[in-house]
């Protein structure tokens, strides 16, 4: 091999070496560039947020979880609106619709921010270059932490209250005495036993009462008969009416007697009246004597009436009982010397 040939071979080797190195560089740059959608044809879509949670240019855009492009620009429109411009691959032209929802999410729990485009299920036209898609506010870590803070406060408050309660329970000597008194459980046990017995008895009693009431309703027994006998009720009613009449008559009698007595008094005092003459007159005295005899006779008649009443069926029982008692008392008196 001549010197010249070897040199040529070495040059080829060198060329291969350099080309391989540069090819690797180009490959790396191309891969990175493709990831950032620098090559190929794209179109832009926009979305407006009030908070982009740290989204920067170059973050990925995903349509239903599939890489669809990258964030081209994040610009502030005014103090509350931030516009995110996205470079979307051309193949998505016939996929993303105007009503697809755009939200900002995170790759994993603490990864890079990512723009998620979620398809809506209502029909709409396909989104075209420069369209502004509707956005949805996503739950950010900040929001989660805020909620968690509220919860923490609540828990702290509950813990404090619980602590107070427990302290009070601990400090209550009465409660601890009660808890440490071994007699109490036995007492409670016997009390419960007694209550159970009492309940059983009460139950029986209620059953009896129930039965009684049913019997009374059905007219069984003397009380039942008494309460259900309509003839008896009628008689009683009549009797009461008669008594009432007697009362009325007695009342009018008393009035007449009063009038009579007053007229007598007048007569006695003033002379010309009959009483006056009665008291002065001897013949009248005789007549009065006769009248008193007549009254005596009337009283006898009343006694007879009373005797007759005794034989009336209503009061017969009472008088009989009375008689029996008297007889018994007499017998006892006779037996004891």
């Amino acid at each position: 091999m001549t010197m010249k040939e070897r040199k040529a071979i070495n040059n080829v080797k060198l060329g291969f070496f350099v080309v391989a190195g540069l090819a690797f560089l180009v490959l790396v740059l191309y891969m990175i560039g493709r990831d950032q959608s620098m090559f190929g044809s794209n179109y832009t879509l926009k979305a407006r947020f009030d908070h982009v949670q740290g989204l920067v240019s170059g973050n990925n855009v995903r349509y239903a979880g599939i890489e669809a492009g990258t964030v081209k620009k994040v610009s502030i429109l005014n103090d509350t609106v931030i516009e995110v411009t996205m470079l979307i691959e051309k193949r998505m032209l016939n996929i993303i619709r105007k009503n697809a929802l755009v939200s900002i999410g995170t790759e994993g729990l603490v990864g890079n921010k990512v723009v998620n485009i979620t398809p809506a299920h209502e029909p709409a036209d396909f989104a075209v270059e420069g369209d502004i898609l509707p956005t949805r506010r996503s739950v950010s870590t900040d929001d989660m932490l805020n909620t968690l803070e509220e919860t923490n406060k609540d828990i702290a408050f509950i813990a404090r209250e619980l602590k107070t309660t427990v302290t009070r329970i601990n400090n209550s000597s009465a409660l601890w005495n009660m808890l440490s008194d071994s007699g109490i459980p036995n007492d409670i046990r016997s009390s419960v036993h007694q209550i159970r017995q009492a309940t059983g008895k009460a139950n029986l009693m209620v059953n009896d009462l129930h039965e009684l009431v049913r019997d009374v309703k059905e007219g069984k027994g003397s009380v039942g008969a008494l309460l259900t006998d309509t003839a008896f009720a009628y008689n009683l009613n009549q009797l009461m009416m008669q008594y009432q009449q007697v009362g009325v008559q007695a009342d009018s009698l008393a009035k007449e007697m009063q009038a009579m007595v007053s007229s007598i008094r007048q007569d006695v005092n003033q002379g010309p009246g009959p009483v006056h003459s009665l008291l002065k007159d001897k013949s009248i005295s005789d007549k009065l004597q006769q009248s008193l005899d007549n009254i005596q006779k009337g009283t006898d008649g009343f006694n007879q009436n009373m005797e007759a009443l005794k034989h009336n069926f209503l009061f017969r029982g009472y008088f009989r009982k009375l008689e029996k008692k008297q007889r018994k008392a007499a017998a006892e008196n006779a037996a004891t010397p």
């Binding site: 070495n10 060198l14 790396v28 990175i32």
Partner: protein, 256 residues
């Protein structure tokens, strides 16, 4: 001037290197470029360094992945292993490790080659024969080192990522395509371009320091060894200093 001898010699050398660098630029822009010698140096410096660089890069990627895995598993982000290893290799490990290996191999060989030429007075003979030794020896080597190191870094990165792919699959199962996608999903231009640009400076530093040490070598064969040694030490330190400056600059420019 009451400067300590060490500081004085340091400043003296720094000034010398600056003057040497200025001479390099002035000689480079002058016509009659030694193309054949440049290509030959590219072959020697670049192509012949590839096996060494490739081996170290492969081991680096594999080991880095396996070392990172337990921590990633602890944090529950094992699936992010390709991404984080990819970023580490492309941004820092690839350029710096490759440049250090390059400094060890090329810096020492340039220093020794030019040093022995100097002490055997070949350089002086060249000058007498009408050839510009600086153009022929220094410019070609420095340019070859400057342009070959980035290529070596790129190839080293790719080999390193392959090692990392094997490392991921030691205890897990990831398809090569998924690994590839995960690496590039998390890379951006700001990861690749600053690393690519700074590897030119690494290569330039290795070339210029090696040539300076060799070109100014003295005291016979002992001086040759010393210039080879100091070329490696100084260029390694310069690589780290350039790395530090590079990260400050990219940070200040906001490309990080």
């Amino acid at each position: 001037m009451n400067l300590s001898p060490n500081l004085k010699s340091f400043l003296n050398e720094a000034g010398d290197i600056a003057r040497f660098t200025g001479r390099f630029f002035s000689q480079t822009i002058r016509p009659r470029f030694e193309w054949n010698e440049f290509i030959r140096q590219c072959f020697v410096i670049g192509y012949l360094s590839l096996p060494l660089v490739g081996l170290t890069a492969f081991i680096m990627g594999l080991v880095l992945t396996m070392q990172l895995r337990p921590s990633m598993v602890d944090y529950g982000v094992e699936s992010q292993l390709p991404a984080i290893v990819g970023i580490a290799i492309v941004r820092e490990i690839g350029p710096v490790i490759t440049a250090l290996i390059f400094a060890g191999k090329i810096g020492s060989s340039i220093g020794a080659e030019l040093g022995s030429m100097k002490v055997t007075e070949q350089i002086d003979a060249m000058e007498v024969s009408g050839t510009n030794p600086f153009k022929y020896l220094v410019v070609t080597r420095v340019l070859a080192a400057t342009f070959m190191l980035p290529v070596l870094v790129l190839l080293g990165d790719s080999i390193s990522l392959y090692g990392s792919y094997l490392g991921v699959n030691v205890k897990g199962s990831t398809s090569f395509y998924l690994f590839w996608m995960q690496v590039f999903d998390n890379l951006s231009f700001s990861d690749v371009l600053p690393a690519f640009v700074k590897s030119f400076f690494f290569g330039f530093a290795v070339g210029i320091v090696g040539c300076y040490k060799g070109y100014n070598s003295m005291k016979g064969t002992e001086g040759v060894g010393r210039s080879a040694n100091s070329a490696v030490v100084l260029s390694s330190i310069l690589i780290f200093i350039i790395d530090l400056l590079a990260v400050q600059i990219t940070d200040a420019l906001g490309i990080n």
